[in-house]
Amino acid sequence: MLLEYLPVLIFLIFAIIFAAIMLSIGFTLGKNNPNTEKNSPYECGFEAFEDSRMKFDVRYYLVAILFIIFDLEIAFLFPWAVVVHEIGFIGIISMALFLLILVVGFIYEWKKGALEWD
C-alpha cells in the first residue's frame, strides 16, 4: 500500500537535491554587484512604500476582471481542442452551449455599459 507512494518519495528527494544544486551554483558562480535600484522592492507599477489611499481609475479593475472571465474560457478551450476528435459530437455540442452561455454574459455586460471607457 505505502510502497505505491515510493516514486513520489524519490521524486521529492530528487527535486530537493536538484533545487539545492541549482541554487548553490547560482550563488557561487554568479556575479554579484548590488546597487539601490536593484535591491529596492518592486510591485506591479506602483511604488512599494507610499500612502495606500491614492486615487486610481476603478474602470481599469472592471476591465481587468471582465478580461479574466474571457481569458479563463481559453483555459477550457485548449484541453477541449486537444481531445475533440475523441469526444465527438456531444463534445462539440457541449462547447457550443458553453460558448452560447458565455455570449449571453457578454451581451449583458455590453448592454450594461461595462465596456464603455467614459
Partner: protein
C-alpha cells in the same frame, strides 16, 4: 452518455434565465418588470415538468445525477417555495423602489445550485452546487448596496463561506485519497467493506473520521448550527427582509438534504462517529438559539436565533440515526420553512413610516389596525412554539417521539424544556401586537389574498398532519 431528458427542469430554468438576461438588457426602464413575470413563468414551468415526469425521472440509473422521487419531491418543494418568496420580494422591491430584474435572475441561479445539490451523487458536483448557491446568496445579500450593513453582511458571509468551502474541499480530498472515488455509491461500498475490528483499519479509520469531521463542519456552517452560527445574525440583520426570507428558508432545505444524503449513503457505517458530532451541534444550537433570542429587539435577529434553535431540533432528529428520526427531521424542516415563509412574507407586507419593519416594537398595536393580519401572525407564532392544532406541534412531537423511540429520554426532556424557554420570544411578539399601544406609523403595503390562502392551507395541513407525514415518510424510504 448522459440522458438529457432527466435534467429537463434544470434545462428549462437555465434556458429561461439566458433569455431573460439578454431580453432584460433591451427592455426600457418601465418594462423591466416583464423579466419578473418571465422568472415566475419559468418556475411554474419547471414545477410542471417535475410533476409531469415524476415516474419517468425515477427510472434514471445514473450514479452521477440522481433524479429519484426523493430529490424530485424536494425540487418541487424548493421551486414552489421560491415562487412564493419571489412574489413577496417583487411586491416589497416595487414598493420601496428598489426593483432590479437582476435580483430575480440571481435567485434563479441559486435555484439551479440547489437543484444540483439535491440531485448530486458525486462529491465534486455537490461542491459545484454549493458554490453556485453561495455565490448567488453573496450577491443577493449585498443587493441593498446603499446600506453599509448590507455590504458588511455580504463580505462577512463571503469570507466565512469561502473558509467553509475550503473545509469541505479538504474533507473531499481526504475521502478521495482514502477510497479513490468521488461517487457516493462507491465510497459507501469502500467504507462498508472496511473491517473496523481488525488492526490494520486504524490509518483508514482516522483518515475517514478526519474527512467526516471536516465535511460535517462545513455543512454545519452552511446550515447554521451552533458553534458555526456566528454569521447568521449579522447576515440576516444586514440584508433586506425579503432576502432574509430567502436566506432562511430554501437553502436550509437543500443543505438538510445534503446532510441526510451524506450521512445516510456515504457515512452510514460510521454512525458512532457522526452521532457524537451531531449530538454536540444540536445541543449547542438549541441552547444558543433559544437563550440568545430572548434578548433580541430586532425582528430579523430574533428570526436568526430562532433559526439556529430550529436547526438544533432538526439535527436532533438526524442524530437518532433511525428512519423515524429522519422522517421527523424532514417533517420539521418542511414545517419550519413553510411557516417562516408565511411569517416573514407577512412582515414584508408591513411598513413602519416609510421604511420596512425592523424592530419588534414596530409591530405594536397591530391588532387595533389590522386585526386579521395580527390574528394570522399570532397563529404563525403559536405554531413556532408548538401549540397543538398547528403544524409546529406535530413537528416537535415527531422529533421528541423519535428521541424516545431510540431511548434518549434525557434528550427529549431537554428538548421540551428548551421549547418552553423558546416560547418566550414568540409570545413577546404576540404581546406587543395585542397589548401595546398603537404605533401610528404602522401601515400595510398591500393586502394580498395569497397570504390569507397560504395561511389557511397551512392551518388545514396542521389539522391533517398525516399528509405531510406520509410525504416525508415516502421520500425518506426512497432515499
Amino acid at each position: 452518455m448522459i440522458n438529457f431528458l432527466y435534467i429537463i427542469p434544470e434545462i428549462i430554468i437555465m434556458t429561461v434565465l439566458s433569455f431573460v438576461i439578454v431580453l432584460d438588457s433591451f427592455f426600457s426602464k418601465n418594462n423591466k418588470k416583464i423579466s419578473y413575470y418571465f422568472v415566475q413563468l419559468s418556475l411554474f414551468l419547471c414545477s410542471y415538468y417535475i410533476i409531469d415526469n415524476f415516474n419517468f425521472l425515477n427510472k434514471n440509473t445514473s450514479n452521477l445525477y440522481n433524479t429519484s422521487i426523493f430529490s424530485n419531491i424536494f425540487k418541487l418543494f424548493i421551486t414552489l417555495s421560491l415562487a412564493l418568496i419571489l412574489h413577496y420580494t417583487y411586491k416589497f422591491l416595487q414598493y420601496f423602489k428598489k426593483y432590479e430584474s437582476e435580483y430575480f435572475m440571481i435567485a434563479l441561479f441559486a435555484l439551479i445550485g440547489m437543484m444540483i445539490m439535491v440531485s448530486s451523487e458525486h462529491l465534486l458536483l455537490l461542491y459545484l452546487g454549493i458554490e453556485l448557491l453561495s455565490l448567488s446568496l453573496y450577491s443577493l445579500i449585498s443587493f441593498n448596496r446603499d446600506s453599509i450593513f448590507s455590504s458588511e453582511a455580504a463580505i462577512k458571509y463571503y469570507i466565512l463561506g469561502a473558509i467553509a468551502s475550503g473545509f469541505l474541499l479538504f474533507g473531499i480530498s481526504l475521502i478521495y485519497g482514502l477510497t479513490g472515488s468521488l461517487y457516493y455509491v462507491e465510497i459507501s461500498n469502500q467504507i462498508s467493506s472496511l473491517n473496523f475490528s481488525s488492526s490494520e483499519y486504524t490509518l483508514h479509520a482516522v483518515g475517514l473520521i478526519f474527512a467526516l469531521t471536516f465535511i460535517l463542519i462545513s455543512l454545519a456552517f452552511k446550515f447554521g448550527a451552533a458553534p458555526f452560527h456566528m454569521w447568521i445574525p449579522d447576515v440576516y440583520h444586514g440584508s433586506l427582509i425579503t432576502t432574509t426570507l430567502l436566506l432562511s428558508t430554501v437553502p436550509k432545505i437543500a443543505v438538510f438534504i445534503i446532510i441526510i444524503k451524506i450521512i445516510n449513503s456515504i457515512f452510514s457505517n460510521l454512525y458512532i462517529f457522526w452521532a457524537d458530532i451531531l449530538f454536540i451541534l444540536s445541543i449547542l444550537s438549541i441552547i444558543v438559539g433559544n437563550v440568545t433570542a430572548i434578548v433580541q429587539t430586532n425582528i430579523k435577529r430574533m428570526l436568526a436565533y430562532s433559526t439556529i434553535a430550529n436547526i438544533g431540533f432538526i439535527l436532533l432528529g438526524i442524530f437518532t440515526g433511525s428512519i423515524e428520526g429522519y422522517k421527523a427531521a424532514m417533517f420539521y424542516t418542511i414545517t419550519y420553512v413553510l411557516f417562516t415563509i408565511a411569517a416573514f412574507g407577512l412582515l414584508s407586507e408591513l411598513k413602519n413610516g416609510e421604511s420596512p419593519i425592523e424592530e419588534i416594537t414596530n409591530l405594536s398595536g397591530l391588532n387595533k389596525q389590522y386585526p386579521i393580519l395580527a390574528f394570522i401572525f399570532m397563529l404563525l407564532m403559536l405554531s413556532f412554539i408548538g401549540i397543538p392544532p398547528l403544524l409546529g406541534f406535530h413537528a416537535k412531537l415527531f422529533i421528541i417521539q423519535s428521541l424516545i423511540l431510540t431511548s434518549n429520554i434525557f434528550l427529549s426532556i431537554f428538548a421540551v424544556l428548551m421549547t418552553v424557554i423558546g416560547s418566550y420570544y414568540y409570545l413577546r411578539v404576540i404581546k406587543v401586537m395585542y397589548f401595546d399601544n398603537l404605533d401610528n406609523k404602522l401601515s400595510c403595503i398591500s393586502t394580498s389574498y395569497i397570504t390569507y390562502l397560504y395561511v389557511f392551507l397551512l392551518v388545514l395541513l396542521g389539522l391533517f398532519p398525516d399528509i405531510l407525514g406520509q410525504i416525508s415518510y415516502y421520500s425518506i424510504s426512497n432515499l
